[in-house]
């Protein structure tokens, strides 16, 4: 073929290399422009597609911006009361050991109101995946301070920044659950660049494989932007996340399987 190919000559079904997975329902996402929720939804569905497990997967949606995840993910879904997704997923995975089960939760859901469910499900070594979207605030309700809000970070309920002397310290719940014997694989990733998206997908794939193999609870945190809550453009918010969130919430694997002998 010569180099003078036109667009129309390239845009043909046989040359397709990337399209949105059909496991994402064909409907506009309810998220703000540039919000990482959409990217993580798609990655999970790409993995379910690769595993050919659409009919063998149950997801549990949280309360938060992703409360409507069941509208977008074309799999069986439940929607839990605020913070209770790990309790629901415990029942679902125990009743259906042949299914891939995961929860999808924000930091307000998982690390505030749902802290007990999170910790006990992790400690019991339940066989499901927790996907944890950490954007440092309560996105859905208007950007209030969350347990994950950084020291000095502004939120609608701490407009001068989080003062740890009054408001306490941020909770690194991912490091915390990594200490528990019931977690098998614990990692922290992000989806703000193509390279990070690809890494996150690999991490999620491992998590789904391990939990399906009954190795214990797999916990994947994705540090993400809430550009609306942070009151920035999406591109600014991603930069702010790199400059401020990553030093406090460093990316990488926190707990890797001892028996597999692999590290990234």
């Amino acid at each position: 073929m010569s180099e003078t190919l036109t667009r129309d000559q390239i845009i043909k079904p046989e040359n397709l290399v990337y399209r949105r997975t059909p496991l994402m329902v064909d409907r506009p996402l309810s998220y703000c422009p540039g919000c990482g929720h959409g990217t993580v939804h798609r990655l999970i569905m790409e993995i379910i597609e690769e595993l050919d497990a659409q009919a063998r997967t149950v997801g549990v949606a949280p309360v938060g911006c992703s409360v409507l995840a069941y509208e977008f993910l074309d799999i069986d879904m439940q929607q839990a009361a605020h913070g209770r997704a790990p309790a629901l997923a415990t029942a679902i995975s125990r009743m259906n050991p042949d299914k891939y089960v995961f929860t999808y939760q924000g930091d307000g859901d998982l690390a505030a109101i749902g802290t007990a469910e999170t910790i006990h499900a992790c400690n019991r070594a339940e066989n499901f995946v927790i996907v944890f979207i950490n954007n440092g605030i309560y996105g859905m309700t208007g950007g209030q301070m969350a347990p994950t809000t950084l020291p000095g970070m502004k939120a609608s309920t701490c407009p001068y920044g989080r003062d740890t002397a009054i408001m306490g310290n941020p909770l690194k719940i991912t490091e915390l659950v990594a200490q528990l014997p019931g977690t098998y694989f614990v990692t922290r990733q992000s989806v703000h660049t193509p390279a990070n998206v690809r890494k996150t997908k690999k991490a999620l794939r491992k998590a789904f494989d391990y939990s399906f193999a009954k190795k214990g609870l797999c916990f994947v945190e994705v540090v993400s932007n809430c550009n609306s809550g942070w009151k920035m453009t999406p591109v600014q918010a991603n930069q702010w996340m790199v400059d401020n969130m990553f030093p406090f919430y460093p990316l990488g694997d926190i707990k890797v399987p001892q028996d597999a002998g692999e590290k990234e």
């Binding site: 290399v17 990337y18 506009p28 422009p33 990217t39 193509p194 591109v235």
Partner: protein, 75 residues
């Protein structure tokens, strides 16, 4: 010598104009339109013909509105 030539198709009505894809393109062949879509967003559009079909823009697009095609050409 083999070279990769790509082309992207953006679903402009579903694009939310976040601009995340623009900075993710190593060939700088995505630009934001002056016009707006039905929701009022300045949507992304391909420009120039240096796209290599690397898929970077598509994997990072939060709304998954980019489709990528690629062919190998010999020059």
């Amino acid at each position: 010598m083999a070279k990769l030539k790509g082309a992207i198709v953006i679903d402009i009505e579903r694009c939310k104009g976040c601009e995340v894809c623009v900075g993710a393109c190593p060939e700088s062949v995505i630009t934001m339109a002056k016009g707006v879509n039905g929701k009022g967003y300045h949507f992304a559009e391909p420009t120039g013909d240096n796209c290599t079909g690397c898929t970077n823009c598509a994997v990072v697009c939060p709304d998954g509105v980019i489709t990528v095609y690629r062919v190998k050409v010999t020059v």
